[in-house]
Amino acid sequence: MIETFGLSKHYGRVAALSDLTVSISKGEVFGFLGPNGSGKTTTIRCLIGMLRPTAGRANVAGHDCWRDGLAVRRVVSYLPGELRLYGYMSGFSMLEFLDSLRGGGSFERSVAIAERMLGLDLKRKVRTYSTGMKQKLALAQAFADPVEVLILDEPTSALDPSARHQVLELVQQAKGHGQTVIFSGHVLSEVEAVSDRVGIMRKGRLMHLEDMHLRRNLRMVLVRFEGAPPIDFPPQLDVIIRDRREGNVLLLEHRGAAAPLLSHLGTLPVLDLAIGTEDLRTLYDRFHGPDVDDDTFADPAKPDENAQGPALIHQEFAGK
């Protein structure tokens, strides 16, 4: 549904986006993570034909995003991160106006979402709305649009916890209807909850692609051995040695069925064992944590769609 090939956007010497190659399937929810200025919004604006790529190209539903931007915007609904609405309009008028710009057909649905799900009073002028209410209004329109792709740039940034929950539900519903969703945000737990895959950006580069379904099967195993720990594990166990610690301790990353690993560990001199999971924060911190600086990624590896998941990056880390 969405494809980018070496997509780059430079402003003079500043690279806002560098060599982004990614493919997002129909019906997928793609989480987009990264701090401010990491290139998420630049990517999104390239996708809807607002920015002309310096190099590379992007396609949405087979249409080139720059040359055929109008066709792209017919199948895309976009919620901007920095939302500005017309204050003199009422909520009703605003939804009617936005609906008219798409040629009509979604007004009743947007009103229903705004009033019933998000609890907005649409008779009030938009200027009397709080920031969160304005965001709800725009979200109602975005989810009501009869489109194939939803691009939500920080959709929950101004919302209260219950509204955030409703937005996540709406994202799940959109996915259920076969819509493709790009969900850009800073709240890792939200991105983790809804995304099929997550892309982590840093300084205009896509550093990592994570399959969240695989990640949900991920377990971290901390093992203390009596004597020196093994150098490696049989490949069929799908175990990666994440860390070797003092005291003959290994931190293992494991996916798949637990029984073969436990059986294998039963053959080794294991003193102690702890099994846990890893949240998205830990993964995110590998690229944006306090210990990470520019030297860490002086030569960032290109993500490979076929080798996506933690393995690629983890092997890099294991080698450092």
Partner: protein
């Protein structure tokens, strides 16, 4: 409703107070022009000295085409009540707001993220701005006609005679709108487009004044051809109308050129998030 119509309607709604205020002023100034003419006619009847002085003054106000007719008297007064100034302020305000103004306040995202071509967007801005200008001129025209009837002016100007200068002033406004839109189409802040539009207009006015002054005409007369004020001649449009067609054509040409070049810039430019 089509996207184009929705955007035109939104623009008209958004500018309704400014447009209403300017149109009200236009109506008042149109009426004032007739009232002043009526008082002037009574004054010149008083004695020969008044008549001589007034003729000289009115010829100065109305330019070389001034023929001392009631129509010429009324239209000449539009230059001094600030009719062109109102038109220019509208043209610069709307031209600068069209792209860079919307971009600066972040509302361009709303329109341009919907399935709307940049041509449609720009045309909606052009049409709504020119509709506003048309409305102002309509008010000016009607107020003049009504005031003539109200005061019972003997040598009453024809509706067409008053309409031509209105069209000339409209064309002046359209030309200024055209080049201000051009500056707006490639900028990201409104103030700069507004400043450039104003600077060119003021420079044009000064250049025209220098070029047409007897003292400088011979040396600096060519300056006249560089300004849109070369085509601004409402009194001539009212009484002779020999230059009416070329003047309006040239001013509308400047407007069209501004719009076309603005479109070429707008079509190829980035639309960054507002900062």
């Amino acid at each position: 409703m089509t996207a184009f119509m929705a955007l035109v309607r939104k623009q008209m709604m958004e500018t309704r107070w400014f447009l209403g205020l300017v149109s009200l002023a236009m109506g008042g100034l149109g009426w004032l022009g007739v009232y002043q003419t009526m008082r002037y006619l009574a004054w010149v009847q008083e004695d020969q000295a008044n008549r001589m002085m007034a003729r000289g003054m009115m010829r100065f106000m109305g330019g070389p085409s001034f023929d001392n007719s009631v129509l010429a008297l009324e239209i000449a007064r539009w230059n001094f009540p600030v009719v062109p100034l109102l038109v220019l302020s509208w043209a610069i305000a709307r031209g600068s707001a069209a792209v860079s103004g919307e971009l600066e306040r972040g509302t361009l995202d709303l329109a341009m993220s919907r399935p709307m071509s940049r041509w449609t967007y720009l045309m909606a801005q052009v049409v709504s701005s020119l509709l506003g200008l048309t409305f102002m001129m309509l008010v000016l025209w009607l107020s003049n006609l009504l005031a003539n009837r109200f005061y019972g002016i003997e040598e009453m100007p024809s509706a067409l005679g008053v309409l031509r200068p209105c069209v000339n002033i409209f064309a002046l406004g359209a030309s200024v709108f055209g080049y201000t839109l051009l500056f707006s189409s490639f900028d990201v802040v409104r103030w700069r487009a507004s400043l450039l539009g104003s600077a060119i207009t003021i420079a044009g006015l000064v250049g025209y004044s220098v070029a047409t002054a007897d003292e400088f005409k011979e040396r600096w007369g060519w300056l006249e051809w560089l300004t849109v004020f070369r085509g601004y001649a409402p009194v001539e449009a009212a009484v002779k109308a020999e230059q009416f067609g070329p003047n309006v054509g040239a001013l509308c040409g400047v407007c069209a050129a501004g719009i076309i070049i603005a479109y070429l810039f707008f079509q190829g430019r980035d639309l960054p998030a507002n900062s």
